[in-house]
Point group: C2
């Protein structure tokens, strides 16, 4: 199978392929369907996480929250414990394992949260003729810790993690305008220009992902990033958490067209 | 004082006036600032309520959620136990009292939820030349129980309560277009036309508010309504809840202009 096949998959076909052994990225899969960041925490911490998401909608835009213990929902009709290519397991904020199936680790008190993913706004930008440099280079978008604090909630606090994409100066306004219409997938950028102003000392050394690809005349543009919930887990150390591995997302039954504001 | 004075109040001035004894409606107060529906429930039920709001954003658009026990927040800088003109107290789903001050009833485990209010989209419609019939008549907008079920969450279930406004047939498209840009205050209407299709048998007998005011050529237009959380309390019977009295809202520090989608 190749990208053209993956691109045309229904969410159900994509999830079946993943369940049957695909462990790589889901970038480009299931055109037109929203992909999501996963974070599952025990019911005991779920109210605080929901409050954190409510207060920080740019890094944590909620697409769906499952019932406690549930492995699926009306917006994700697969099995969340087998249908994500790879998972990260955290105990008291420490990454202890990476797994491709967490059906044996799932607990009756775990609450799965799905957060919007930048793949959706990237597609909208590409359609508008704004290239994604990291796609052409075959790399993962660079992500950085910043000095932009999230609003804390209960036990949870974190700085905002951002992703960075280089955009030609004359396309920056279109980039902002287009992304602003997608609040459910991080929305408008949070910063344009000088990385030092948000605490990034060396653009070439991201905290996650690959070094940036910038062309002559590109302005660095920064978006709140779905890795923020994992940074929050590392900082706030809940007893247990399961997240997706970067780039290996949950493919939902939500159409991207539903995520555009009127 | 008159409506022109109230209209020009800052949120702080409005809350002080209410704290000092105003017990009537807040319709028309603090032009440009969002007013909100209040529902406070114990921490034990707060996750379920948050899940209910997440799954039913049209009747329950979340503007803010306070920390457990808190009486204020960054988006409501007053005292939520004294700065709403009148409160309704529910015990196991039964309305047991109406009070003008609940500072003595507040508990350390109560979580206050603020939901968007139709006053905000009404102002936008009036600015577009779409009259609010009930304002001219000096009545309260009619509200109805419907057969449109909310998606349940944990202990909470409810049918959707709707408000109804008569709109000239040629202004219905503008009405939908304008309201769709305000998802945080109920958003686009949920139904246009025949009330029978959503289980309303007699338009002249609303479940809350006053009988409708319709002019020749008006189409009945229905919006999801902020009374839905109180209907949910009556149906699902949490141990304890405090809500605002209809039309007597919490005046927030959120600018209405922040609620418009890009």
């Amino acid at each position: 199978m190749n990208l053209e096949t993956w691109r045309s998959f229904t969410p159900e076909q994509a999830r079946t392929t993943i369940r049957n052994g695909h462990t790589g990225t889901t970038s480009g899969w299931s055109d037109g369907w929203a992909q999501a960041n996963l974070l599952a925490v025990p019911r005991e911490q779920a109210f605080d996480l929901m409050l954190f998401a409510q207060r920080n909608p740019k890094p944590c835009p909620l697409l769906d929250v499952f019932d406690p213990g549930a492995r699926s929902s009306s917006r994700f009709k697969g099995d969340i414990t087998t249908d994500v290519p790879a998972y990260r397991i955290y105990e008291r904020g420490t990454l202890v394992a990476e797994e491709t199936d967490v059906s044996g680790l799932w607990r009756d008190d775990l609450v799965a949260f799905l957060f919007g993913c930048s793949f959706s706004f990237e597609r909208a930008l590409i359609e508008a003729g704004i290239d994604m440099r990291h796609n052409a280079a075959g790399t993962t978008v660079p992500m950085y810790r910043t000095t932009i604090d999230c609003e804390p909630a209960g036990m949870f606090a974190s700085s905002t993690v951002v992703s960075m994409r280089g955009v030609p100066a004359d396309r920056v306004p279109d980039t902002v305008r287009i992304c602003a219409r997608y609040p459910a997938v991080h929305g408008a950028p949070v910063h344009v220009g000088d990385p030092g102003l948000i605490g990034i000392t060396d653009l070439d050394k991201p905290d996650w992902g690959d070094p940036p690809v910038l062309r002559e005349g590109d302005v660095p543009v920064f978006w709140a990033c779905g890795v923020t919930p994992q940074a929050m887990v590392m900082q706030s150390r809940p007893e247990f958490a399961i997240a997706h591995a970067p780039g290996r997302m949950a493919i939902t039954d939500i159409r991207e067209s539903e995520l555009i504001t009127p």
